[in-house]
Symmetry: C2
Subunit: 139 residues, 2 copies
């Protein structure tokens, strides 16, 4: 198994609402309005929105209904950009789980939930390298 992730799928109950949220953040997809799955090209991987029941069945799991121990994160280029992203999220209908604040590891981060209650962290990590194309490297 190569050391990579190809796709993250978010299970959703209201696909149109979830799609509209990410589009309001500036994300773009070629999915048609009637498609039952929405794919976003996200750097070298894909982010998908798909029915949560179908995803649970396809994954072979019972749906606990809440948070399941996986948090995706978006790394910003500065603490100011963390706050700007959180403001964009709020304007787009997401909710702020934790406002931006300095972290114990020397960075700055906050967290939000999308309209389907999927939680993201938004962070500035001065110890990592964030390239022009958005890719992130350790150290």
């Amino acid at each position: 198994m190569e050391q990579r992730v190809s796709l993250i799928t978010f299970g959703v109950r209201d696909l149109a609402r979830a799609r509209a949220f990410y589009e309001a953040l500036g994300w773009r997809t070629n999915a048609s309005p009637e498609d039952d799955v929405v794919f976003f090209q996200a750097g070298g991987m894909i982010v998908a929105l798909w029915g949560r029941e179908q995803l649970a069945e396809d994954t072979g799991v019972e749906d606990g209904g809440g948070w399941g121990g996986i948090t995706p994160a978006y790394n910003a280029r500065s603490p100011q950009e963390v706050d700007a992203v959180l403001a964009e999220v709020e304007a787009a209908g997401g909710s702020i789980l934790r406002p931006g604040a300095a972290t114990f590891w020397g960075g700055y981060s906050g967290a939000f939930a999308d309209p389907e209650d999927h939680a993201w962290e938004v962070a500035h990590n001065p110890h990592w390298t964030l390239a022009e194309d958005g890719s992130v490297s350790l150290g």
Copy 2:
């Protein structure tokens, strides 16, 4: 917010066990054995293993305890590679949630859980392009 994901963190109860599982699949980290977080460089993003309680607190959520509607996936280069990855996973102490099988969308996929019950899909998608470096593109 740019259209990308920088990091996926898996909350774990037994960090050494989770780390050993991904290392048994061939993943490599520079983390020290005494570190309380393990980072894997995964293409242009990072995969982290961190205490599930700390992650829930940091994310600003209650931990539902089960699956939470997010499934990461690993895209393989052939149906045969899907089966090979699932066999590796089983040998490394993971559990098979769904054996490899043809899918309704013309691909081939299965699913597994790591020792912390984080579920992954393993898929071959003939409609997507999987580059030499492991990056995936729609179409």
